[in-house]
Every structure is written in C-alpha cells, then in structure tokens.
Symmetry: D2
Amino acid sequence: MIRAGFIDWMVSTGANLYHDAHWGLGLALHQGSSDVDDRALHRDGVVRIYDIVFEFGVLLETDSYLRQVMNGAEFQRSMSTAELHHLLGKYLAAREEELGLRDTCILSTAYRCGVPLYVSSPGDSSIGLNIADLWLKGRGPHVDVSLDVNETSAIVYAAKRNGGASGVLILGGGSPKNFVLQTEPQINEILGLEGEGHDYFVQVTDARPDTGGLSGATPSEAVSWGKVDPARLPDSVVVYTDSTIALPLLTAYALARAPKRSLRHLYERRGEMLERLRKDFLERQARLEKEARGDPT
Amino acid sequence: MIRAGFIDWMVSTGANLYHDAHWGLGLALHQGSSDVDDRALHRDGVVRIYDIVFEFGVLLETDSYLRQVMNGAEFQRSMSTAELHHLLGKYLAAREEELGLRDTCILSTAYRCGVPLYVSSPGDSSIGLNIADLWLKGRGPHVDVSLDVNETSAIVYAAKRNGGASGVLILGGGSPKNFVLQTEPQINEILGLEGEGHDYFVQVTDARPDTGGLSGATPSEAVSWGKVDPARLPDSVVVYTDSTIALPLLTAYALARAPKRSLRHLYERRGEMLERLRKDFLERQARLEKEARGDPT
Amino acid sequence: MIRAGFIDWMVSTGANLYHDAHWGLGLALHQGSSDVDDRALHRDGVVRIYDIVFEFGVLLETDSYLRQVMNGAEFQRSMSTAELHHLLGKYLAAREEELGLRDTCILSTAYRCGVPLYVSSPGDSSIGLNIADLWLKGRGPHVDVSLDVNETSAIVYAAKRNGGASGVLILGGGSPKNFVLQTEPQINEILGLEGEGHDYFVQVTDARPDTGGLSGATPSEAVSWGKVDPARLPDSVVVYTDSTIALPLLTAYALARAPKRSLRHLYERRGEMLERLRKDFLERQARLEKEARGDPT
Amino acid sequence: MIRAGFIDWMVSTGANLYHDAHWGLGLALHQGSSDVDDRALHRDGVVRIYDIVFEFGVLLETDSYLRQVMNGAEFQRSMSTAELHHLLGKYLAAREEELGLRDTCILSTAYRCGVPLYVSSPGDSSIGLNIADLWLKGRGPHVDVSLDVNETSAIVYAAKRNGGASGVLILGGGSPKNFVLQTEPQINEILGLEGEGHDYFVQVTDARPDTGGLSGATPSEAVSWGKVDPARLPDSVVVYTDSTIALPLLTAYALARAPKRSLRHLYERRGEMLERLRKDFLERQARLEKEARGDPT
C-alpha cells in the first residue's frame, strides 16, 4: 500500500514499528498458538504476542541495534518522530541491503517512499525504552512532541488549503486514532484557522460506541467536534472486524482495482507545510491582538 | 481513592485530564444521550462524548485558561508530564479555591496528595494541542518523554528494591496500559537490572485477547515478557466489563473495607528514585564495559 | 426475586434449568478456572462450563433422575413447557425436602410460587435429550409448542387488557429474547388483536446491534415491529455487561428498595388467560369472515 | 453451498427461514441504514432488521401465505421440523416457478436438494406464530420436538457408524449451536451408544468465552463434554468475526477450490437412519436390563 502511493502519512504505535523491525534485521518471528503455558515460555526464553512467538534474544538483539544506531551523531538532537523514524528507516534499509532483503518492514519502506511515520506515544514502546536508556547516559535523540502535533496538523491543513481533501483510514483505535483526528480541532478550535473536518473516515475496529471511549467513538460523534465534515458523514464507514481480516481485503481490492498513485514524498515537504501553518497562525494572532487593542484592521 | 492513599501514581490519557479539568474551572458538562443528531449538535455548538454533552465554549474557555497558565514563567522549560500536571494541578487547585470548590478533578486532587500523573502520549489531547499552539509562538513547556519513561521505571524499581511489591490496576487498555507494564522490561530487559515483574495485576476491560492487540493481552501473555511475576499469575484478574461499572464497585468496596493508607507523596521523591535507578544502571554499565575490556572484576 | 414476587413468568433455556437442577438433587458443582487442559478433564471424567467444573456422574445421575420421573403417569401426555417444568418442579421440591433443602433451584422455587417457566427450544438441552430418549421407547411427555406460544401471548394480552402494563427484563439474548418479545406481534400482527408493545424493556447483554442479530437488536428496532410501545422508548434500557455482574446488583437493589409484591400465581391462571385470548381471536375471525362475505356487521 | 453439496443438513432459527422466504414470494426487502428514527418507521408501516427495511405488508402477506399453505391437508399432523420445512419448501419452490424465480431462498433450495432443515426453537419465529394461530382454530401441524432431537442424532450416528466423520460449521451461536453439538452427548451420554465427538468444528462468532455462555464456549470446552473429539481439537477453528464477512469468503473459497460433492439427500434417508439409532439403542437397553436382572449375557 505504501509503495503503491495509497498511504501519504501514517500514525502508529512504537510497538508496531519496533516488532516489525525484527524482519529488517533478519530476525525470526514464528506463528504459534495463544493456547500455551506462558510460564514455560518465560522459563525457556520465549516471548509471546498473542499467537506469535519468538526468542527473547530477538528483543535483546533489536534493542542493542537500536541503541548502537541511535548513539550515532545524526541522532544527538531534538526531532519529530517522523525524523526519528526516517533516520531509523535509513539504517534499516541499509541493513536490509546487506542481508539481501528489501522493504521487509514499514520503517525501511516508508523511508524509501518518503512517507512520514508519527508515533503519538513516543516513550511507550521498546524504541522509547531504548531512547530512555541512552538518555540515562546523556546520549540519544529527544522527541519534540509539539513538532509532531504541528507537523501532522500542517499536513492536513496543506491538503485542504490546496482544494484537496483529507481522508483517514483507522485500523484499531486508541491514541493513534485520536492523534490523527485531533489535527482538525488543532487547526480550527485551537489555532483558529479554517477547516471543516476530514472528508473521508473509514475505521476498522472492534470497539463499540457504548463503552464511551475514544476507540469506539463514531464518525457521527466526531462531527459534533468538527473532526469530520458533517456533509461527508453519510459516506463514513465503520467496520466492526479484526484488522487482520479487513486490511488484506482492502489491500487486495485497492491494488487490483485502483491505479497506483505517484508518491507524494510528504516527508520532504514537512518543513514547508509547517511554515505555512505557522505563518497563517501568527498572522491571525497578530490580527486578533490588533483588534483587541482597538486598532483599525 | 487518591485521597484515601490507594493510588500511589497514575498513567492517564491527556483527554481524561483535560475534560476532567472542566470541573475545576467551574464549567458544566451534562448527562445527555448517545442517540442524537450530531449535525444538529455541531450546528448548535454542542459537543458530544458518547452520552455527555457540553457547549463548544467549554473547550474554548479551557483552552484559553491552559494557554494563559502555561505561558507563565514556571512552564518555560523541559519537564516530565508529572511536573507538567503537578503545575497545572497547582493552578487548578488555586482556581478551585477561588470558586469555593475542592478536589473536583484529578489534577487538583493529585497535586494536593503528591501523586505523580503521567501521560504516555503527551501530544495527543487538547493539553498537547495547546502546548503545540504555544510552541508555534516559541513559548510553553517541552515534555521530556524519556524523563517520563525513566521516572515511572524508577518508581517500580524503588518499590521492589525496598522489598515491597508493585501492583497495577488497569482501567481500559491502549497506550497507558503498555506504559505502566513496560516499566518491568525497562528495568530488566533494557537496563539489565533485577526484577521479576509486577506482583499484582488487575485489569478491567472490554478488549478480548483474540484481537491480538495490547489492550486485550492477558496477564499470562505478560508473564512471557517478564512484565508480570510468573509466581503471582494465579492471583491476576481480568474483568470484562465497563470501567464505569467496575470502578464505583471497587471504590465503594475499598473505602468501606480497607483502612486508609498514608499518602506516599511519590511526587516529591521522583528525583531521588530516578537517581538510584541511574546510579545502579551506570554502575552495571561500567562493570560490563570493564568485563568486555577483559579487566579483572 | 421469584419469592419476592418480582418475576411473574419466565422464559429460559433448558440448559439453565437442567444444570440448576443439580443443586436440587444435592449434586455438587465446583468453582474452577477456564484455564485448564480440557483433554485431561475429559480423561478424568470432569465436565466444564467455562469456570465451573463437575463430575460427569452429575450428568448421568441427573439424566437418570429425569428419565425416571418423566416415565411416571403424570408425564404421559402432551403439555406446554410450563406444565412440564411445573411437574418437574413438584418432584424436585419433594426431593429437596427429603434432602433437607429448600428452593435451591429455579424449578422448585417457581413450582412453589406458581411462576410458569417456558423454554423456547424444548428439544435443545439435556431435559430435551432425556425426553427424546423416552420417546424412542414410546414413553414420556410431548411438548406442545403452540401451547407455549399462545400461553405466553395470553399472559401479555391479559396484562394489557386489564389496564396493566407489560415489562420485560432480558438477561442475554438469543431464542428466549425473541420468544418473550414475539408475544406482541403474535397479539397484533398475527391474531389481529389490540396491543401497543411492551411498556418496559430492560436488557443486559454483551451483544451489540452492529452484528445485525436478534440478541443485539435495540429496543428502538423493536419499536419498528410493534414489540415495544414507541411512547415508552425513552425509558428503555440496554446495559452492556455480563449478567453475572448486573443481576446481583439489580437483585440487591430490588430487594432492598422495593416492597415485595404478592405472588400472582400465573401458573394457575394459564387456562383462563388462554381462553380469553382464543375467544377474542375467534370472535374477530368470525367478524372478518362475515365482512368478507358481505354480511352486515 | 447447498447446491454444491457442501451442506448435508442444517439447523437454523425460524426467523432466518421466515424472512428469507420473502424472496420466494417475490416480496421486497431493502438495504437501508441502522441510523434511523424507528418511531417514524413504525408510523409509516416500515419494519427494520438492523440495516434492512421493508414494508409491514411484507410480513402480513407472508403470514397469510403461510397460514393458507399450512391449512392444507398435508400439514394436519405431527411432524419433525425437517418435514415441516420440506413441505413449506415444496410450496415455495412451486411459487418460485410461477414467478419465474428459482432457488431464491433456503427453504426452496433445501427442498430441491433433499437437505433436511431443523429449527431448534420451533415456536420462536413467525412460522411458529402462524402455526400457533392455526392451533387456536384446531388446525395446522404439530411439531414433534423429540423427533427432531432423534433425527439429528441419527444423522451424526449414521455418519460415524459408516466410518465417516462429522463436521460442524457454526455461524453465530445460541440455541442452534447447542442443538447441533448435543447430538454427540445424546448418542453417548444419554443413549449410551458409541461416539467420540464431532471430528471438525469451525465456528464464526462474536461471542467470547469469558461470558460463560454457550455461544462463546470453545471447542476445547466441548471436548470436556465429549461433543468434540479430543484428538481433533488442534484442528478446530474459532473465527471472531461477523458471519456476513466470513461466509462469503468461505463460500467463494469452497466453490473455487473444492470439487462439488454429489448431493446426499439425507432428507429421504431420515427414516432409515432413525430406525438404526432406535434399534441399537433398544438392543443396548435390553442388554442392560438383562444384566441388571443377573441374566447371563
């Protein structure tokens, strides 16, 4: 989907990127079963994620790799998670080539395609843990959370400013869902710029609205917040099923039926989009302050 | 529960703290219904969170308050979310007093009780959006994500070092669940210090294991990671129900049956606990490097 | 709840009545765990219902008891499930007395209180299996399914004819839910008599509407069918939680707050209510046929 | 699937067969939305099943058709639901031909293919309601519930006696699930004949085991009951998704990959299979009685 140009930018959890990166390092994960004795696994140094099992050493090796890479000169600064993941993707892409592999994981694929990858909870994953390890030694990157918030809003702002549209495809829920959807309130509720909410909303989830949580909140509820354009509500879709069922179907359908799109390389355009957002925001602020002082506008 | 000493520290989403803070500002939220026309709500300036409704102005007023407070001198630096929320709690506690209120929200209550509040996705909420607004103007706090990761691990490390135990009570799932549980892998997998996993694990959730996601991952799966002590697995509890059912029952039970505990004031002890973690980690690192060089240990 | 007069009549599955009857026979069920090796249980003659375990012999003994009782003279005829369960309840009540027990199970309690118990799928349970065993030998009761349908409709019809109201409390969903709710369509859609749907609708379930199934169908959907009175829709309640959480809370609340109601003994009034339904139906049929023939009405 | 020979027999709810029969009568159901005002629908004579809507007249016309057909001579007796549905299917097949339709519904298709259709809760659906309407006038069929129980067990018994295997595919849960699975306990626990449980178990459901209900009970739990052969447990499958997602995928796969099977016409073989079950059962009973009397065997 990334290579076919169907994904312009992405918000993930760190855990998805971390465990996916095992492939880029040539490490093995195995299809197992969820019906096992976890105390025996723990004793035998085997780690389980539902029905996937792998050796504890896979974690240690990945951790060691990440710390070594992030100890390098390029990482010794403050950055957005998009930059962090782009840099990690660069190293993983190189590692893949050494191993005779290609595009085995999201980090390397997104790096090659210029797709910015954000993580809404950057301390919350083994990537974050390894950064925190380096931090204890006074080394490593610092994630600038506000840069992430503003870059993602700037991407949506740019899409809509140019007469384009913004569509969100949500697999699951939780913090990444909110992080994608809050771009619209950031633009209009907080920064006071124009915006009518996302134009397309497709969510695949097992979270139901009645829990009252964000994961199960409907596109209709999002309309009341200005997160989804009310005019587009009838087109919004919520599919209550597992992402592992829906995503292969969606992917097969998209690749079979839709022509590929040329890559947008939004990663390279982050700076320019952010500056546009900042400029429009500061101009509006100045106008408001002038008005507040009673100056003629 | 906080005032009774049953909560030593806490990980939340920013949204929970933000909307809860409306109470501290004397703003009204209303019990409504989920069965409404959200386009009409949007037109009428009413925002909905499942069956709770409130005026859009409540958001604007809270946003304005947060930006004004976080524009102050105390906030112009890098800090953990515990510090951020402690400072916000201080201002909200003062605001409550002006309004003749007390302990109306978690932020002010936790401030008074010295309970550190962490948020695993600090950019992902209206608190994060308002910080990002200030950031565009070169103002406001910077969240140091690694400080959060290490402070939370240091709290668990201190509890276990002192011959004590660590118990987690999880309402829901998602990023906060992982952030609490990853303290143990941070201690033993990443930092290489001793630890056998949390001693008590109680989760209230509607997320089932079969989705393969972290929210529904069982304490048994956590054992395979060293997140939960295998010896304590039979005592772990997962309750599949809504937190709004379970929490009042748990609270009523705890307050009725268990004697209050004296407040631990972990907020004030963060620095000391972090230094202990850092010291033990750096000593171990030095020892490992020495061994690697072949020096006699 | 039955003894306090809060349950006038009931629809259950046969399995609930069958396994509950083990108590009436003084047989033991044990609280166990769902996390066990079922092949080992099968080998050891232990049967599991989620986290309840018991010896296979409990089934054999209950089966043997049921076949012996239902081989008796009183059972050698066609009957509604209300009669079947009343007769079984009579024998279980006597057995309880021999054992020094009282009201250990629904069958004996409902027998003593004159509460009719219907089962919508009478062949589908071990009670049904044992009846089918006797049937192979030319013995035992025959369930008259249409008598069940008409008796239950007659109960609702009588309640509403007398200026009273009809309230349904649904735990779970499935066939018993539909069987209770179809009483209204039976009265007005099929038999052509007057009725405006049930007045009170409370459901405790984990079935969500989006599955499209009957279990998760909302009271609102039931309004479109005339199963629920549209005027009472705002008072209807769906609670998404486990019955084992909701029922103890409801029971404790009802017993603590509401005065007991005198027992209605609907079991004894089945015949009279059915005759009223039949009479009104046949009169309407005669009137319609007369009209169809062009006779003056 | 039926026509391709992949379905030998079936247990359904009456509601599925009833609403499906609208197609056979040339009546229209419409794809709608679940997000509608049901009071307005009720006022306008529109009935809703989740996101399917149709005119109230569709029900009345189907009811009238069913009563007219079931008033005929062939229906004035006691029968299993397999016979009831076979007869209904015969009339619907004829009606389809009048309308220039073919195999528009399960009833007519199963009739043509000789696939017996059972309903575990025969009073619980509009088919049952219309039978109950006729019953009030002393007309119509009587469902012999025990005949259903024994015929379904006889089908499984025959499959296994002949060295064959028994596989169950379960869509959803509830009463039909139990009715299919109880065939094995009927054979070995109740009737005392040989049997080791079903060989193949595939369930598509959204019901989770933790509710403790039958719908979510796992094949593993079924092993403890002898409902599933322990040796085949590792091959059993539970898919947690909507049947409307799984069934089209399964069907497309089966039709594309598996050769068609010749139709078994089990409907025509019910009598012979039942007699075999009865004979073996009565012989065993006689043997047991002889042993109990101390006669030499």
